[in-house]
């Protein structure tokens, strides 16, 4: 699956201790030469307040970035930043979740937890990208969508669902990067792409380890155990096919060297967008559909005695394009 999605067979180059493809991307868990960190260490690294957040990355990866504001309906959500920047001279639409690097900044950014209007702003930018056929880059970094009552009243669930829907059918190339913390549906609302990459120390989970611990082990103190059970670290995500490649971080973690982190992300983005730009939009959408279509773990016993069907009806359905 990786070959199909990532394109050219990985040209193994030895650098920074792992073998990777030409753009530096780690395509297989076996290529991770650095000592494996525990799930709980990954959680700490992914949440580190000094880790580069969306705007730190945008500043280092894109030239002449202009932030564009507002959902045109309610307000401008500071937990999601959107805009247009240039990558190697070509315009790109960027949408990212923004955490703060200090307590004050985090309060201002609502700790990176978007409201429905944040997702509606994101959708506005998705459509803008499609309208002008600009590639879309998303940066996922959130503990989750904001769970407060105002968010419920304004339709948090609807906003997330619509955001995912918009991405699944968006007729322009999308690269999604799990930058730090990928918290559940609130992260997935930015996470549907032709290629989904994760930073080497990022996490992505259906529920926070604390939340899972409270439900499964009746104690938030068991978060470390829950983190292990959830298999939420980037290498695990790669082995399950949830992400297509890992972007290497500097020794010790991205928080130690924002510039080097930015360079690695830029190299990965340039390589992926170069490749995706050559794929016709129809193929892009078919591949995007099949990429997510294939994810899951099911057991389906063969029907005893009956001959195998030549072509299941769902495959037939896949071929029908509107």
């Amino acid at each position: 699956m990786l070959d199909r999605l990532i394109g050219a067979p990985a040209k193994a180059v030895e650098g920074n201790g792992h073998s990777a493809d030409a753009s530096g991307l780690i395509l297989s868990v076996n290529d991770l030469a650095t000592k494996k960190i525990t799930a709980w260490q990954a959680v700490q690294l992914a949440r580190d307040q000094k880790r580069p957040h969306a705007l730190d990355i945008i500043e280092r990866v894109f030239d002449r970035f202009q932030e564009l504001h507002g959902d045109r309906g309610f307000r401008d959500d500071p937990a999601i930043v959107t805009g247009i920047g240039e990558l190697d001279g070509r315009p790109v639409v960027v949408v990212g979740q923004q955490k703060g690097s200090s307590t004050e900044e985090n309060i201002e950014r609502n700790f990176g937890m978007p409201f429905p209007e944040g997702y509606r702003k994101a959708m506005r930018m998705y459509r803008l990208a499609a309208k002008f056929h600009l590639p879309l880059v998303t940066l996922v970094d959130t503990p989750g969508a904001y769970p407060g009552p105002e968010a419920e009243e304004r339709g948090q669930a609807e906003a997330i669902a619509k955001s995912i829907e918009t991405m699944t059918t968006l007729p322009t190339p999308i690269v999604a990067i799990i930058l730090g913390e990928g918290g559940s549906g609130g992260a997935l609302a930015l996470g549907v792409g032709d290629v989904v990459l994760a930073m080497q120390n990022a996490i992505y989970s259906v529920i926070s380890p604390e939340g899972a611990a409270a439900i499964l082990f009746r104690s938030a103190g068991e978060a470390e155990r829950a983190a292990n059970a959830l298999r939420l670290s980037a290498p695990e995500l790669l082995s399950m096919g949830i992400v297509d490649g890992l972007i290497p971080e500097p020794e010790g973690g991205a928080h130690l060297d924002h510039d080097a982190t930015g360079r690695n992300i830029k190299a990965a983005l340039v390589a992926q967008l170069d490749r995706l730009a050559r794929v016709p939009v129809g193929d892009l959408l078919t591949n995007r559909y099949e990429r997510f279509r294939a994810i899951g773990s099911i057991v389906e016993p063969a029907l005893d005695g009956s001959p195998p069907k030549a072509e299941p009806w769902w495959k037939r359905a896949l071929r029908i394009r509107p």
């Binding site: 669930a157 669902a161 559940s184 499964l216 899951g296």
Partner: protein, 279 residues
């Protein structure tokens, strides 16, 4: 039966106490009344099979993908290993997972039905629910049928981790294709419809109906209350609240659900581009 957990004073196989008004209800009468309290109209949870019987035209339901069951992709262990948890739920319910799918006619309109069952691990959405709803949508697309999904779920299934989360994108991708082909999708929300289920397919119906007083919300009410550290407004995250805020079309009593679905499917027929539709 979902209402089998009765109070001790009355033999639970004969009587059920209404959690809303406290009335002791004779089970036979309750079933005859579609599991709705005769005194206060409280809607008890309904199993997937009972729901199908209510919605599908008599004798028209043909089950599909019955044998799909879940793997254990994470090797997940909390108090019980995940495969043991699945097996227990399968033994108890007779179902392979938290959803039953099939083709049927509803008011004469050819449809695909996907009905969730809260009794199976809280109706949680893992790979099987994801795959079966996706196939249901693909089947509706291939045969140009309408799609009805009845939700009853606490959200994504933790024991399948991020794979469960990805089912949201998988299902929505299939629904988007159905929509592009001009085929109707009606979403029915029952008690409860929360978390990743509400934040994906359940919120994307061309028309969204909900049963009275069903819990419909993104975050658990405890989480939400904890966030603001105070009590929540009365009726918060109930069908009527969500209706008032504009996120569903109607609150429909169970006794009228079938009739309402039949009307909608009759009205929302796709343009007759394909002969299969009129067969």
């Amino acid at each position: 039966m979902p209402f089998a957990r009765g109070r001790k004073e009355f033999p639970s196989h004969l009587w059920t106490q209404c959690p809303t008004c406290g009335e002791m209800l004779f089970n036979k009468q309750l079933v005859r009344n579609l599991n709705v309290c005769l005194k206060c109209d409280h809607h008890f949870k309904l199993g997937a099979r009972e729901r199908l019987e209510l919605i599908a035209d008599k004798g028209s339901f043909l089950e599909i993908d019955r044998e799909l069951s879940s793997g254990d992709p994470l090797g997940f262990v909390d108090s019980t290993p995940y495969p043991a948890r699945i097996l227990a739920a399968q033994t108890k319910s007779g179902e392979k997972d938290a959803i039953v799918c099939g083709t049927a006619t509803v008011g004469g309109v050819p449809s695909v039905l996907a009905v969730m069952d809260f009794d199976f691990i809280g109706g949680s959405m893992g790979s099987v629910v994801g795959e079966k709803i996706t196939r249901a949508a693909e089947r509706a697309l291939a045969d140009r049928r309408a799609l009805i999904v009845v939700s009853a779920s606490g959200g994504a299934r933790m024991q399948e981790g991020t794979l469960a989360l990805m089912q949201m994108a998988k299902i929505i991708g299939a629904l988007a294709r159905l929509g592009e082909a001009g085929l109707p999708f009606v979403s029915v929300l029952t008690d409860p419809t929360t978390g990743g289920v509400l934040a994906s397919f359940a919120s994307l119906g061309d028309v969204i109906l909900a049963e009275p007083d069903a819990l419909v919300g993104f975050s658990g009410a405890r989480v939400t209350a904890g966030t603001i550290g105070e009590k929540l407004p009365k009726g918060f995250q109930r069908s009527e609240f969500v209706l008032a805020h504009g996120f569903i079309d109607q609150v429909v009593p169970r006794s009228q659900l079938k009739e309402r679905l039949a009307f909608l499917l009759g009205a929302l027929r796709p343009a007759a581009r394909d002969l299969r539709w009129s067969l």
